[in-house]
Symmetry: C2
Subunit: 159 residues, 2 copies
DNA sequence: CACTTGAGTTCCCTAAGGGAACGGTCTATC
DNA sequence: GATAGACCGTTCCCTTAGGGAACTCAAGTG
């Protein structure tokens, strides 16, 4: 559903959800990331309706998260690949995966393991402070108004 | 909509989306995180339908992401707070915020700034390798079957 | 006692998702 | 060279979830 547009909110979370937060979108991005780049393969793999898949792909492409790349001249066929913008979204997906592995995998353990090619080890994503490098915990965060904060509405003085 | 249940998929991303991926859910969690703990405040702040908010709160509570805590005896009133499970989800929200700040904030800059109380500096979330501590990039990741991988369906040999 | 606040619940309407069928284009096969 | 099959969508109808406003209920306030 989601008739309410998140894109206009002065909130980076809402804006990100507006781009890639609809149901299926993160899973489509994951598929493209792991090498499922073609319409039919994505559709079969996810069990998503073809209609919705076509909508999502067009939207993600319009948002600059995906782009089409021809992989065959005759017949003319395109596949979907991640842009830089889309690749960076995968870091969010890794953080989601880490949470899911920890809280939803249960006895069986994680369905997929990530190997960091740079260091060669099996690993998982850790969200850390860009300044001090320590793990970031929700309870250690304070919020301050940024430059892009919403201007206070009519006569309301914010903070 | 989302009639398709993500929770049954052998994928930590899908399972996480099943718990907190519906439209509004991440924004509700964000609100509770930053201190908007009461029904009416969340509803006004987000502009979400009261019906949907009630549904989401009940679901998130059932999933162990939120819990109710009484803040008044007479009249009996509860507010919503994050559980440990919910607090750790906020790390995902921080990763989302970092992406949104980078790709959607534009000229105006980020609407909200995060201060890491531990080190005292304004910061943003960086997704790093839990093993080597370097930044994790999507292109540096290899995937391997984990212990909780879906058993190959009827007669199909996976990999 | 009328009014307000907080927290939901109910109802109707509309729009989005699911599913299946159809379309077009090229290649491979009998 | 007709037929089948892969690929990539589009169209159609049906169901269901979200939006919005009104309603409920309980407790406190002037």
């Amino acid at each position: 559903m989601q008739r309410t547009r998140f894109g206009d909110m002065a909130c980076s979370i809402a804006r990100t959800l507006d781009i890639a937060g609809e149901p299926w979108s993160p899973l489509i991005i994951r598929d493209v990331w792991v090498g499922t780049n073609r319409f039919d393969d994505i559709q079969r793999g996810l069990g998503i309706s073809r209609k919705v898949l076509a909508e999502r792909l067009a939207w993600l492409q319009a948002q600059g998260v995906l782009e089409r790349r021809p992989y065959s001249e005759r017949p003319p066929r395109d596949e979907y690949v991640l842009t830089e913008k889309g690749l960076e979204l995968c870091e969010v997906l890794m953080a989601i995966t880490a949470w899911g592995d920890r809280w939803t995998a249960g006895e069986a353990g994680p369905p997929v393991l990530l190997r960091h090619r740079t260091c060669g080890l099996l690993t998982y994503a850790e969200v850390r402070c860009a300044q001090c490098g320590e793990a970031l915990h929700a309870s250690d965060i304070g919020f301050e108004l940024g430059p892009g904060a919403e201007p206070a509405p009519e006569g309301v003085e914010k903070i």
